[in-house]
Symmetry: C2
Subunit: 392 residues, 2 copies
């Protein structure tokens, strides 16, 4: 015990030194305001005009507290009341996950709201964005996000999904609507697209402006558990040829085609045909969209792949009917992903998408400015994608 | 720094001693299973057949980690890998809030799901209950819980509520439904009744068994901010005559009557009249129910007050029409609240409720066995209350 404590004293002294070095940087602009996703009445975390986040936590007996955001840990400094405080380097506009480390324990910040991502419910922060108007809650007609429980035969279990119904859904009981099946990324779940993605607010605002046709969005859980022997490529690494392993998307494909779509068509006033059904997803959800729509072009007309690869001529050659039946292939990335060459799973996504256009397909390639593999890229992708859907 | 560290070493040695004393108790039954409200794939927290909760967290550099549940802090013990573990005394059946303390920082357990209560989003645990069948997710027809955004004129701001619609709501577009306005307690919010209270599952199961008439439930935010000069009575203390201060419920009453009810009647297929409108709430929400229904018996027929006081003959004498128009006054408490004399806000709730029955009112007094001022009392109260509603 005593030996460890001496180590801890050293660790604290060292961390104190690091803190001083960091907080002495002259660049911090002192216009911090509480984050929009704080818990009620909480003054921290705060965000400044540079996109820096300042966190604070009371931990009187702690020896080292760190703020972990964007894969970097920042040491906090302690005042004489035991309250730790500190800030990170400027972050991209939009939403980011983060956590705190208190003497080696990785914990959520008790001041923030919590979001499911990075395979845990944990803290999130919102950096105000120049274009945030498109996902801001406004006094316009609003749709609903409904929690829907159902029994899945293919999984032999109860499941639930979230269903966005557009603003007028309950006004005219004779009207039927197209449906977008919208998938989250790896380590996220069915809550992501409304909580972090603000899909409902994006749609409400687009519909209020007459920029998108009202449609239903179904957000279900596509979590895929990787076999022990496989591992995903690390950032910047070329994926191995056998990753993801063949058949990785089969369980979700079966659940979607055999359970979710029939359940939605039975319980909502859908236009239950191929011309009025779309699928899109981010990252892993985009990869699932690619697999499912290549295998079933008779089910879907519109395809959206956000930061999740692209569809190539080679793919199409082995997918009968895809070229003829699909009305749109939409592919998007954050600009920093392209810089960082995180454009895996099918080569250069712009080039492959252009190759489909060259043979007569309707394609759309979108790049989110100054964002990475993160929610701001995907909010913008949905905002670009939705107006292109169901144009009949 | 050095002086503080010596203190911390002493604190750690002392806490180690306390831990040993606690974990040497012979009574712990080793049949722990992961909690039903753990985050995906998390093995801790666990619950045993005695209702003890065992938590675990990795905190290699921490000197003291505590498990804080039911107003008691339990010291955890650390293994040679820096993982802390320990358990609490047996808890009542049902749902409880808890948190961890890591070297003085109060934080959520990173392994649990999070719930809003005790004025924060934080950890919760579910102790399996002998009667849990009534709120278990089953393969029966399910209603939906819908997030509904609206503009509140009386608050001049956007608000949202959660609306439970019963299983057949979207099947017959000519059918209209009664409405229950169901309020949370102090330090909780509009998410409580579905997340912790499982109001939707309670209703789905009752309706599937033919024990309750299908109705809509509206769960909105009734948070009331106490004036600086006032303070609530502490546990076991008689409240001062002037607490809560007059007018404390006026803001929510105005929001409910002028914004929420007209908005619900305009957007849902309600039976928009007094015979088909009920109000109920727990704790603070019960107190609001008392104030609102005494002031507006022309709006509501059914009144439910769960662990939130009762309605007396004196109340009725100054509430014209209440005695004649109200079809049911339902009052409930957890049995441990009555033992602990937490039956504030109107004297003995059984006696006052009986006094209404003596003058011809329809009343129902329910006591939840072996529970306190906690969600299991309120789940059971809703389960008792719902079958009594809208019997016309």
């Amino acid at each position: 015990m005593k030996h460890r404590s001496v180590f801890l004293i050293l660790a604290a002294l060292i961390s104190g030194g690091i803190c001083l070095a960091q907080t002495n940087q002259p660049a911090v602009v002192e216009d911090f305001k509480p984050s929009s996703v704080n818990q009620p009445d909480k003054q921290y975390p705060q965000v400044n005009s540079e996109g820096r986040v300042r966190v604070s936590i009371s931990a009187p007996q702690a020896l080292r507290v760190q703020f972990d955001i964007g894969a970097v840990k920042y040491d906090l400094t302690k005042d004489d009341k035991g309250v730790w405080i500190g800030e990170c380097a400027p972050q991209d506009e939009g939403f980011h996950y983060y956590q705190l480390w208190v003497d080696g324990a990785a914990v959520p910040d008790p001041n923030s709201l919590y979001f499911y991502g990075a395979s845990r419910w944990g803290s999130g922060i919102e950096i105000p964005a120049k274009d945030q108007d498109f996902y801001t809650l406004k006094n316009v007609p609003h749709g609903q996000v409904r929690e829907h429980f159902y029994f899945s035969k293919s999984n032999n279990s109860m499941r639930h999904c979230f269903v966005y119904t557009p603003p007028d859904y309950d006004k005219d009981f004779n009207k039927r609507y197209p449906v977008l099946y919208l998938q989250h990324g790896g380590g996220e779940d069915e809550t992501g697209w409304s909580n972090q993605g603000k899909a409902n607010l994006i749609m409400d605002n687009l519909i209020a402006e007459g920029k998108a046709r009202p449609f239903i969005i179904v957000m279900d859980n596509g979590t895929w558990r990787m076999p022990e022997q496989a591992r995903p490529p690390r950032q910047g690494e070329r994926p191995a040829g056998n990753w993801p392993p063949p058949g990785w998307a089969d369980v979700f494909k079966k659940t979607l085609l055999e359970d979710i779509i029939p359940m939605i068509d039975a319980n909502y006033r859908t236009l239950a045909d191929q011309p009025h059904r779309a699928m899109a997803g981010l990252s892993m959800g985009g990869m699932q969209t690619r697999v499912v729509t290549l295998a079933s072009p008779e089910k879907f007309s519109y395809v959206g792949i956000f930061s999740g690869g692209s569809i190539s001529m080679e793919d199409i050659k082995t997918a009968p009917g895809f070229k003829e039946k699909i009305k749109l292939v939409f592919v998007s990335y954050g600009s920093r992903e392209l810089e960082n060459r995180r454009s895996a799973f099918g080569g250069d996504p712009k080039a492959t998408t252009d190759s489909l256009k060259a043979v007569g397909m309707n394609t759309h390639f979108y790049v989110s400015p100054l964002t990475a593999h993160e929610w701001q890229s995907w909010r913008r992708s949905l905002h670009e994608f939705a107006p292109l859907l169901f144009k009949d």
